[in-house]
Amino acid sequence: MSTETGRPLLVVEGLGIVFGGLRAVHDVGFALKPGEIVSIIGPNGAGKTTLFNMISGLYMPASGSVRLDGEVVTGMASHLLARRGLSRTFQNLQIFPAMSVLENVMSGFHLKEKGSLFADLLNWPTARSRTRAIEAAARALLARVGLERAAEREAGALSYGSLKRLEIARALALSPKVLLLDEPAAGCNATETEEIDRLIEEIAHEGTAILLVEHDMKMVMRISNHIVVLDHGEKIAEGDPATVSRDPRVIEAYLGVQQEGSHAGG
């Protein structure tokens, strides 16, 4: 499923940020092509989430650039990035707890509807049929992540594993070119993890480039085309899963820690 052809959708170059004199991330770069799954791994505090936050516009990088489909988007606001085709999920979930599961996903379709407020008020029947079409599309996405039966439930009442999938469904509603997933399998049991595996591979297969941060090493090794290893904010290795898992620096920095049974969040 690895797509070696096609120009990169996301190019990250020399990205760095400093927090109070500490180089949280320093000179990190990589590229994602359509349909590719790239994973960022590294011990806790290696800078994975910080890197995600810079790419998705939450932190302004001190140096380096992010290009999305050829356009420089470094530090651009999240909703503008979403409109340009970059969407992400969060380790600690960002959903609308007081809205229904269906409405959560429908809100992701909003950006295809921008500027239609006055048209909506003036042309009610058209607006209604469009809303119904969006509802149908949202239900299809819920079916895809296995949440179709929970559509009418209040999102805040869902289990953690279900919320993870809900967040992915909402991210997909944006029809992203690039999807950033921050620990999609955290807190999921083995069956749920397999479902998420399958889902991620399907999404990639349709041409979306996926950037993944995940602590489940089996999952990372199984689905990644390319792995970038961070330690102390710097890229210490990269390559395909086989290469990376044999790299002595990686074993020392990360897999060594893994053997001691670390499984906490980062």
Binding site: H110, L121, I134
Partner: protein
């Protein structure tokens, strides 16, 4: 006896419909921005005063009212763009104080431009009262109640049946997640200020034939509308409707059966008692996770 009760109920619901519209304005802005907008009463004043002066300029009433409502909406949008949005990162308390400043500023401008006079709008369809089971209802009361119902019904459809409405709710629920979903939360805030101002102005147009209007009618109305919003639950349009009508009826019953001197006191005592039992108001939203 029955006719008395009915009479008080009718005047209570009429005033309550206006409180409900003002409470709705508070709620919409609060949802989009966490700001309690104490300039909400000035939107009501601008609606009434704007219509009075457009009428004096020779425009027909419907056109004068339309111009006043649209003009007030523009002022609401400008207020957000020029004052609130620029202080975006200030604490919420500072933003609320800015709204109090805007309230004083708008009163001052109207006082200078239009004077201190008290004005009356003609009733929309005459002053001939209708009789219902021994109570009298002025046609203007029906305009007020009907107008409020139309506004609430339109907003209900907007929030439940349109994607833009859903985006406003999403913004209220979790602003950070809304931005991630591609929603322009700044636009949602501007929209909320525009719509709240228009609703306030409409309330002003509807009530001015009954209560008269001047540059200083805004503040007491804002306080009542705020109380109604707190009673129903700040942030919930249904709460605004119920809170507004309840407050209006409470006032009218107190004025009718006790004395009009006590109407404000009784209404506020009931609110204090209710809020001590149920601090989030009748239909208050649960607290939600915000980042």
């Amino acid at each position: 006896m029955m006719s008395d009760f009915l009479q008080f109920a009718v005047s209570g619901v009429t005033v309550g419909a206006v409180y409900a519209l003002i409470a709705l304005g508070f709620t919409l802005i609060y949802n989009a921005s966490d700001v309690v907008n104490f300039a909400q009463g000035e939107f009501v004043m601008l609606g009434g005063m704007g219509t009075v002066f457009a009428l004096q300029a020779g425009l027909p009433l419907p056109l004068a009212a339309l111009i006043a409502v649209m003009g007030t909406a523009m002022i609401g949008i400008a207020f957000n763009k020029l004052a609130i949005e620029r202080a975006r990162n200030a604490p919420i308390v500072s933003l609320i104080i800015i709204t109090i400043g805007a309230s004083i500023f708008l009163q001052g401008v109207v006082q200078v431009v239009f004077g201190k006079g008290i004005h009356r709008l003609p009733a929309f369809s005459g002053d001939e009262p209708l009789r219902l089971l021994g109570a009298t209802i002025t046609p203007q009361s029906l305009w007020v109640i009907g107008g409020a119902l139309v506004v609430f019904a339109a907003l209900y459809l907007f929030f439940t049946r349109t994607i833009t409405g859903l985006a406003v709710l999403a913004t209220a629920n979790n602003r950070f997640a809304a931005r991630l979903a591609g929603i322009d939360t700044d636009f949602m805030m501007t929209l909320s200020f525009g719509v709240s101002a228009a609703i306030g102005a409409l309330a002003g147009v509807l009530i001015s034939p009954i209560t008269l209007t001047s540059y200083q009618v805004g503040v007491p109305l804002a306080l009542k509308g705020f109380a109604a919003a707190m009673l129903g639950g700040m942030g919930n349009p249904k709460g605004a409707l119920v809170g507004g009508v309840l407050l209006g009826v409470l006032e009218a019953m107190t004025a009718g059966y006790l004395s009009s001197h006590y109407k404000d006191a009784v209404a506020f005592i009931v609110i204090l008692v209710l809020l001590s039992v149920k601090p989030q108001g009748l239909f208050g939203l649960r607290t939600v996770n915000r980042v």
